[in-house]
Amino acid sequence: MSSPVPDPVRDRQPIPAAAGPSSPVPSAPARAPFARVLSGIVPYLPAAVPAVMLIIIVVALVHASGFTNFGLQFFSLHFDPPVDQWGIAVFLIGSFLVAVPALFFSMLFGVGLAVASTAYLPKLVTQVLDPFVDLLAGIPSVVYGIWAFIIVAPYFGSTVEPTIHAYLGFLPGFSGPTQSGGTGIMLAVFILTLMALPITTLLIRDSLRAVPKDLWESGLALGATRWEVVRRVAIPYARRGIFSAAFLGFGRAFGETVAVAMVLGSATVLPSSVYAIGNTMAAEMFELLDSAYGNSQFLAALSEMAVVLLIISLVVNVVGRRFISRLYKEQVAGL
């Protein structure tokens, strides 16, 4: 995949083994005596840090879970610790119920924002506006949580949800009773949209910027409007970056813990409408670890939930990063 973004690793030329006839540098690895082999390995060791950390995470979770509860039961809807029922389906479904709509909205807004700043707005304006989106990534999730719980939730309960209920109540899922407190699926989706937005916007913006200028111009030279070039040339060209944005944005929303725990209502029931309360795997794991103290089966069940969450986020990240051609993306938390 060629990308106009410079990639330091790929661009770097290999260093010639023998650096010219004038420099008498011995090619160290080849002539090293056996005793020096060990010291030859040492510099490589620290490089394993991330791999080792990943292994520790997997081993710890698997060890604690002991695969005690795995089986069909584990994916049932019945979660009730006092009677040893550890079905996680309620939380698994809950996670998708908030993450998927949040992803939808953050992609919708992300594409819109990225198109606005790459195709329509002058560079000077973009330089002022884009940082606001990036700033969303810097706000800690617990701060989002307290703001959403204390400030936004009452507004949702008193105004937003009744309004939506009045207009969209005929749709399935929008009919149920609204909660006066305002916490629930809709508020969680709102917060997660904000939290995923900087990631999706950044990745889409970057991939639209990578569309060659010539290509934009040839579209316009054929008498297309800017929008037509965006839709028929730029977005198809940038589709891989957009694909990545969707996956990594989803990963962010799916794994978010504290903010969701604060606004979703922590209910072990399947939500019956968009106004209902519920819970996600991440938030449930976070809230219940306390209660698992001294109860090895409880801890095992929670750790298994953690394994499921880990597998899903690993898959999402592996797929999502396949098309990011740059070495790393760092400007935004969670990338």
Binding site: A47, L129, W147, M285
Partner: protein
């Protein structure tokens, strides 16, 4: 002009067919409406900053910030706890991240390096609650440290290491190839190159990486809450319980307003917001200076 021959041939320049009017109008309106989407980002930020300041600032006195007395409404304990815990965690993370990043950039063959880089990326993409579980299972239970300062700090170090690792790697791989080759070609040993040539060039970028990791880490809640116990005292030693600002928010956000505890949560939220914002500004400033320097190198 209508009778003019050329204007009939020119009709396409003045095409007002429904289709054309729609195409051009649509483009124009999209161009006007899309920028309004920035309100989706700007409005929540303003609302969040405004309301949190409104709830926190009026009662945020100097005494509230600095007093570490175990009695009463103050943040001193959490501020000291945050400072000490993150100092500890950052030091560890810098140690591991820096050595690791340099080793990947300078020593590891490309194929192995890509595996390691993938792991670092995956760690960054791992939900923080999982890091908390890892810390709880490994440090609190398996190592028997309990819910203590040390367990929290090491868990946070775990969380922050991949960020620092990646910037260190990136910083050393982006040392301009001619400079690197000149140094190594003139007979410098790799270690000499790293310390004398690479480090000065890579330093600013690594510094931004450290501040960025700190900015992200200091806003984390789940790993800390899962691996420490709250305390009304500042940490006495590594085995003490400890309270950090984010944990303070988590514990108090849902308390009845009349208890005053919710105000403490807002004050902590305000402080953490300020800290994160300042760290982000620092990152931007350093990376602007750094970019100028790197551009200078390429000239």
């Amino acid at each position: 002009m209508a009778a003019d021959l050329s204007s009939t041939a020119n009709s396409i320049l003045f095409d007002r067919s429904a289709r054309t009017v729609w195409r051009i109008g649509f483009d124009r309106w999209i161009g006007r409406l899309l920028p309004l989407l920035f309100l989706v980002a700007i409005f929540p930020i303003l609302s969040l900053v405004y309301y949190i300041s409104e709830k926190a600032v009026p009662t945020l006195t100097w005494n509230v910030i600095t007093s570490t007395s175990p009695y009463g409404d103050h943040l001193g304990v959490a501020i000291v706890g945050t400072f000490e815990l993150y100092l500890f965690a950052t030091s560890l993370a810098v140690l591991f991240g820096l050595f690791g990043g340099v080793a990947v950039a300078e020593f590891l063959p490309e194929s192995a390096a890509n595996w390691v880089r993938t792991s670092a990326n995956l760690l960054v993409g791992t939900p923080s609650v999982i890091l908390g579980y890892m810390g709880y299972i490994t440090f609190c239970l398996y190592f028997g440290w309990g819910l203590t300062f040390e367990a929290g700090a090491v868990t946070m170090a775990f969380f922050m290491t991949p960020y620092i690792f990646r910037t260190a790697d990136l910083a050393f791989t982006s040392v301009p190839a001619p400079i690197r080759e000149a140094a190594l070609g003139s007979g410098a040993r790799p270690s000499q190159y790293i310390l004398k040539v690479g480090a000065p060039i890579a330093f600013p970028q690594i510094l931004t990486g450290i501040f960025l990791a700190l900015a992200i880490g200091v806003g984390e809640t789940a790993p800390i809450v899962l691996t420490t116990t709250a305390s009304v005292l500042v940490p006495q030693n590594l085995h003490s319980p400890v309270t950090v600002l984010t944990a303070l928010i988590w514990e108090n956000y849902a308390q009845a307003p009349s208890t005053g505890l919710q105000t403490i949560a807002f004050q902590a939220a305000f402080l953490i917001l300020v800290i994160v914002l300042v760290l982000n500004v620092v990152v931007r400033v350093i990376s602007t200076i750094y970019r100028k320097r790197l551009e200078g190198l390429y000239q």
